[in-house]
C-alpha cells in the first residue's frame, strides 16, 4: 500500500480513508503509531517538514481518528492520547493567549511536534541509508575461504612428585603379592641367624663390648643393617634371659654393651 496516497481528497471519502486506517490498526504493535500517522499526513502536505502547517496537520489527524472510530470500534489508546493532545494544541493555536496561561505557548508546542516529526523522519532515512550502505557479507565480501589460524596445542602435563611416588607404591602394592617372601628373605637378618652369630663370637671377647660390633660386616644396605641390629638385640635379650650373658646401657639411647657371664663357663 502506498501510504502517500492518503491525500486531501481522501479525507472526504471514507472509502479511501478506511484503507490506511485498517492497515494502521493491524500493525499497531509494530513501528506504526500516532507519530507515524502524523508523519504520513505531514508528507502529504508535500512540503518540507520545516514548513508544514501544524494546525492543518492537527485537523487532519483529528478527522482521521474521527473517521477511523466511525469505521472501527477500537482505536488504540496511543492514538487517542495524541488526538486529545492535538485538540488541545489546536485550541492553543487558535485562541489568543491569555495572561495567566502557564507553560509553553501554542507555537512552542507546535514547534516541538514538528521537531519530533523531523526527528522520526531523520531516523527513518537513516535506517534506509544504513541498509543501502556497504553491508559486509552483502555488498562487500570477506574472504570466502579464510585460513583460520592454526592452533598448535602443546600439552603441558602436570604431575607432582607425591603422585609419582604414590603411583609407584600403589603399583608395587598390587604387583608385590607375586614374590614378597623371596624378596624379604634376602634382606632380613633373622633372629636365629643373630643368635648363632652371637653365640659363635661371644667367647672371643671377654670384656664389655658394644653389641653393635657383633653385627655381620657384609651389610650393604641400611635396611639389612637395621634388620641385623634388631635381630642381634633380640638375640642378646634372649641370651641374657637364659643367663648366658650380661647387658648394660649407660644412658638412654646410649650404646648397649654385652659381656659373657663368667659363671656359666
Amino acid at each position: 500500500m502506498d501510504k502517500g496516497s492518503f491525500d486531501e481528497a481522501g479525507q472526504r471519502n471514507p472509502e479511501v480513508i478506511a484503507h490506511p486506517v485498517q492497515a494502521l490498526l493491524v500493525d499497531l504493535d509494530g513501528y506504526e503509531g500516532p507519530l507515524d500517522v502524523l508523519l504520513l499526513l505531514a508528507r502529504d502536505q508535500k512540503v518540507d517538514l520545516l514548513k508544514i502547517s501544524i494546525l492543518q496537520l492537527a485537523e487532519q489527524y483529528l478527522t482521521f481518528i474521527e473517521q477511523a472510530r466511525s469505521l472501527r470500534l477500537e482505536v488504540a489508546a496511543d492514538y487517542l492520547v495524541m488526538a486529545a493532545w492535538l485538540a488541545y494544541l489546536k485550541s492553543r493555536l487558535l485562541l489568543p493567549p491569555e495572561k495567566d496561561d502557564e507553560g509553553p505557548s501554542g507555537e512552542e508546542l507546535a514547534e516541538r511536534l514538528a521537531f519530533m516529526l523531523r526527528k522520526l523522519e531523520a531516523m527513518r532515512g537513516a535506517a534506509d541509508k544504513l541498509m543501502d550502505g556497504r553491508i559486509t557479507g552483502r555488498d562487500r565480501m570477506a574472504r570466502g575461504r579464510p585460513e583460520a589460524i592454526r592452533i598448535l596445542r602443546h600439552s603441558r602435563y602436570h604431575c607432582t612428585l607425591r603422585e609419582l611416588l604414590h603411583a609407584y607404591a600403589a603399583q608395587k602394592e598390587r604387583k608385590g603379592i607375586t614374590n614378597p617372601l623371596r624378596l624379604m628373605r634376602e634382606a632380613v637378618f633373622s633372629v636365629e641367624q643373630a643368635l648363632a652369630r652371637l653365640e659363635r663370637m661371644l667367647g672371643s671377647l671377654p670384656e664389655w663390648t658394644d653389641l653393635m660390633s657383633y653385627l655381620p660386616d657384609n651389610l650393604a644396605t641400611p635396611f639389612s643393617r637395621r634388620s641385623a641390629q634388631a635381630s642381634t638385640l633380640l638375640a642378646s635379650l634372649q641370651m641374657a634371659k637364659e643367663g648366658r650373658l650380661e647387658l648394660r646401657q649407660g644412658q638412654t639411647f646410649g650404646p648397649i654393651q654385652v659381656k659373657m657371664r663368667k659363671d656359666t663357663e
Binding site: L109, K119, R140
Partner: protein
C-alpha cells in the same frame, strides 16, 4: 614512506587469512617488534586501492573486503541475512545514532511502544548491547550498538553513520525532554542525565 616489504607481506598474509578483521594490537603482536604497523597498513591500503579487493577499516579493525562496486558480481557468495522488520530497523537506527539510549527514549522518538520481540531480534543478531544505566529515577538500562554492528554495516566508527554530523548539528540527535506530552504531566522531572553508570 618506506616500509619493510617483508613486514608488509606478513601483514597481508595475516589479514588475508583471518576470518575477522584484525586490530592493530593483534597485528603488532604477531609481526616483528620493529614493524611500523600504521605505515604497513597505509601501504597495503594504498596498494589495494582500486583493486578488486580492498583493505577496509571496520570498527577500528582492519580486513580485506571485495570492492563495493563489484557486489553485483558476487551474488552467489552473498550470505543470506535475515530481513529486519521495519520496526527493528528503525529501532536499530535510533540506538546507533542516539546511543546510549533507553528504551523509553526509543519509544518516545518512535512515538509508539516497543514490542518485546523487536529488541530481542537486535540482541539476537549481536548488534546491540546494554551499556549502562541512566542516573535517573528507575535507573533505566541504556543501549548501544556493538562492534559487530559496525562491521556488518561497514562502518569504522559511529561517526561514520550516514548523515551523523549533519543530524548532530541540526540537534536531531539530542535526547532532551522535548516530548509533546511532557507538559501534560505536571511534574517536570529531569528525565535524562547524560552521565550514566556502566553496568
Amino acid at each position: 614512506m618506506s616500509v619493510d616489504p617483508g613486514h608488509v607481506r606478513m601483514a597481508e598474509a595475516l589479514l588475508f587469512a583471518s576470518r575477522e578483521p584484525l586490530d592493530e594490537a593483534t597485528l603488532a603482536e604477531r609481526l616483528p617488534e620493529d614493524a611500523d604497523i600504521a605505515a604497513i597498513l597505509a601501504s597495503i591500503e594504498e596498494t589495494y586501492k582500486g583493486r578488486g579487493v580492498n583493505l577496509v577499516r571496520l570498527a577500528g579493525k582492519w580486513g580485506f573486503l571485495t570492492a563495493p562496486d563489484l557486489a553485483w558480481l558476487l551474488e552467489m557468495e552473498r550470505e543470506t541475512t535475515r530481513k529486519l522488520s521495519r520496526a527493528a530497523l528503525e529501532t536499530l537506527a535510533i540506538i546507533a545514532y542516539h546511543q546510549p539510549v533507553t528504551r523509553a527514549e526509543i519509544e518516545e522518538i518512535r512515538g509508539v511502544g516497543l514490542s518485546r520481540g523487536t529488541m530481542d531480534v537486535l540482541f539476537d543478531a549481536g548488534w546491540i548491547r546494554p551499556r549502562g544505566r541512566r542516573r535517573t529515577p528507575g535507573r533505566p538500562v541504556t543501549y548501544g550498538v556493538t562492534e559487530d554492528f559496525l562491521i556488518h554495516f561497514g562502518l569504522d566508527d559511529i561517526k561514520d553513520l550516514p548523515g551523523f554530523d549533519e543530524m548532530k548539528a541540526a540537534g536531531l540527535l539530542n535526547l532532551e525532554p522535548g516530548s509533546i506530552f511532557s507538559d501534560l504531566a505536571t511534574t517536570e522531572e529531569d528525565p535524562i542525565d547524560p552521565e550514566e553508570e556502566e553496568i
